[in-house]
């Protein structure tokens, strides 16, 4: 549909050589791709490239609390369907770039680009002063376009230039990542997440012997973790998964009572709790940290501009939804632009861009709010809140229709 349209991609980094084989060491920046994202990647051949490299499917997800024994497990019956796919960022990028090469006549990529400024057309369509959007590069080059798509991250300069209002806050948390080695070789297809007082710690499977650690914790604690010697870091991880220090006696008691109550009425409360694998080592120089925040752009579009991904919304990584929301934006925007082209509209006309904004905000905002609420709820040690989440989690886990609803939503979230 977009045949005849030319697309220029501005990339800040240098051109990368295409991967011939996956990197020797598992890299620590990964994404949990949803089945909807997989479908998008399949639609243009990039998923095949990922399959040719490596990925790990997640069949089961177990989330539990450190204040009580309440837990929730997600899995499809008989582990038949995949919940998500853990793929290293470098492999996702490589897979997409390889597909871009096959359509070089339509999509060109400019590497090592710095955008100095954007000049955007006025909102008033009657104004004759300027009509296309302009990009000024630091090398003096000026580019004009009908539509500027801002995929320039949560500090988006395009968003700032367009004076789009944002709502944002810092969690005062650091996401600490690393590639870790797990104890025994096993079928590693479970995603583990435990909520600690300081934030969630998660272990995502990469291979039978490797997992990806994503540990959201207070900035202070995070900095310490980054400094720790390897052995102590490994100990800290294991302690975080096993510690009983956070136990809240009231919640724990309530949880046990509620559990026997659930079992009494024939609902399966917590029987299937499994234990996460022990971490035995960490891969050299895979440790890293990044600050966590929430950002919501009140508008995703403007005259001749559209924001996608983190430029439009940034979420806490605890549900692994950030990248999937971004790919969902891509799916939706591509569909709206195809319609626009087939109706002979200007690609940058506000009408279909508004449709994109409405559709995506309706999807993204509830997800963002849920994720934010979760992170706040689990960040609390205030007994009533601990009690509420403990019993809530148990109830959801016991009621399979409710759980299925959550799971379907997570899988469809695109």
């Amino acid at each position: 549909m977009m045949a005849g349209k030319r697309i220029l991609m501005l990339e800040g980094g240098p051109e990368k050589t295409m991967l011939q084989a996956p990197p020797a060491v598992f890299t620590s920046r990964t994404c949990a791709l949803s089945p909807a994202t997989r479908r998008l990647l399949e639609s243009f051949g990039a998923w095949q490239n990922i399959e040719d490299m490596r990925y790990q499917e997640v069949k089961r997800m177990q989330v539990w609390d450190s204040s009580s024994d309440s837990m929730i497990a997600f899995n499809h019956k008989d582990l038949s369907n995949d919940l998500a796919y853990i793929v290293e960022n470098c492999i996702i990028q490589d897979a997409i770039l390889k597909q871009l090469e096959t359509i070089e006549d339509r999509v060109s990529v400019k590497y090592d680009c710095r955008v100095q400024a954007y000049r955007l057309p006025s909102v008033n369509p009657n104004s004759d002063s300027q009509h296309l959007a302009e990009v000024h590069l630091s090398n003096g080059e000026r580019l004009q376009t009908r539509l500027l798509i801002g995929a320039d991250g949560f500090k988006s300069l395009l968003r700032e230039t367009a004076k789009i209002h944002t709502v944002n806050w810092d969690y005062d948390q650091l996401g600490v990542v690393a590639t870790v080695e797990v104890a025994e070789e096993m079928e590693n297809n479970v995603a583990w997440q435990r909520f600690l007082k300081t934030g969630p710690i998660a272990l995502l499977p990469l291979s039978p012997k490797h997992s990806n650690l994503i540990w959201s914790t207070s900035t202070k604690n995070g900095r310490n973790l980054l400094q720790l010697p390897h052995d102590s870091f490994v100990d800290a991880i294991n302690r975080a998964f096993w510690t009983e220090d956070d136990k809240n006696p009231v919640a724990d008691y309530a949880s046990k009572t509620f559990d026997s109550l659930l079992t009494g009425v024939g609902l399966d409360g917590s029987s299937s709790q499994q234990l996460p694998p022990a971490v035995v080592g960490i891969e050299m120089s895979t440790r890293g940290g990044f600050p966590l925040g929430l950002c919501h752009a009140t508008h995703y579009v403007g005259n001749r501009i559209a924001l996608i991904g983190d430029a439009a919304h940034r979420v806490h990584p605890l549900a692994g939804q950030g990248v999937n929301l971004g790919f969902g934006d891509v799916t939706c925007l591509a569909e709206k632009l195809s319609n626009a082209v087939s109706n002979g509209c200007d690609l940058g006309a506000i009408d279909h861009l508004m449709e994109y904004e409405t559709e995506r905000q309706r999807q993204n905002v509830p997800v963002m709010l849920t994720v934010d609420a979760l992170s706040r709820m689990y960040g609390s040690s205030f007994t009533p809140i601990v009690l509420a989440r403990t019993l809530g989690l148990q109830a959801v886990n016991a009621l399979s229709p409710v759980k299925k609803f959550f799971m379907d939503n997570a899988a469809a979230a695109s």
Binding site: M1, N126, H131, N343, G344, C345, D346
Partner: protein, 251 residues
């Protein structure tokens, strides 16, 4: 067929043609209905190509500020779909606005030109030269529908098409399209429509038949007054869209 009063009336509104949220907002959004209508009739099954109307010569009669040949400021759906489009309007002011906006967009500029003239005064040299004539939301403003329709049909090549969107002459259109739309909902400028000039569909169809045209499609269209979006309906008592083709002796 030109009613000078009507020409002046719309000339005065000319500056507002491009204001999407303004009085012509409903006309802008109508493109979502009429562009696919024209596209799918002239290039069936080809909507997957970028320029399905490539090589076709179209006349947009009563183009106004050029909304149809220019969907919004600097965009021209029909021209962008590849057609070479001539916009025709009796108001010089409208033509100027349309030209101004076409000039912004090279894609459109190359494919459009504008003529300021009533349709019945176009030179004989243009007869039977257009693959399609589009007369959208204009029939209800002309003083002599018979002359208007026959002039439009003259310009169509044998085998070519005419597309008309207009308002039917019914009690429903008198109340809803004129009174309610102008006075209550205010989605159309006051005085924009004179119900007495509306042409009943059966009269239009017999005029078309007299001019060698066969109706291919007749659909009602309805406007949701709250979001100003148009959609198809089987009810033709208000707005409708019609596609007719000219008899081709060899086919």
């Amino acid at each position: 067929t030109i009613d000078q009063e009507e020409v002046d009336k719309f000339g005065k509104l000319a500056q507002k043609w491009w204001d999407r949220s303004g009085e012509f907002g409903a006309l802008h959004t109508m493109n979502n209905i009429r562009i696919p209508l024209v596209r799918d009739a002239l290039a069936p099954g080809q909507s997957l190509f970028t320029k399905p109307l490539r090589g076709l010569k179209l006349l947009d009669v009563g183009c106004g500020g050029g909304i149809l040949s220019e969907a919004r400021a600097n965009s021209s759906p029909l021209a962008r779909l590849g057609a070479s489009v001539t916009g025709l309007d009796a108001s010089a002011e409208n033509i100027n606005i349309a030209r101004l906006h076409a000039a912004h967009d090279s894609l459109v500029r190359e494919n459009t030109d504008y003529i300021c003239s009533p349709v019945e005064q176009l030179p004989e040299s243009l007869w039977e030269t257009y693959d399609a004539v589009v007369a959208s939301e204009i029939l209800e403003h002309v003083s002599d529908a018979q002359v208007f329709i026959s002039s439009c049909c003259c310009l169509v090549k044998p085998g070519g098409s005419i597309f008309i969107t207009s308002l039917n002459k019914t009690q429903a259109s008198k109340f809803l399209a004129v009174f309610a739309a102008e006075r209550i909902l205010r989605i159309v400028p006051e005085g924009a429509h004179d119900w007495d000039k509306f042409v009943p569909i059966d009269v239009l169809q017999s005029l078309l038949r007299e001019n060698g045209m066969t109706t291919q499609l007749l659909h009602g269209i309805k406007l949701n007054p709250f979001n100003l979006k148009w959609s198809w309906t089987s009810d033709v008592s208000m707005n409708y869209a019609l596609h007719a083709t000219k008899f081709h002796p060899e086919s």
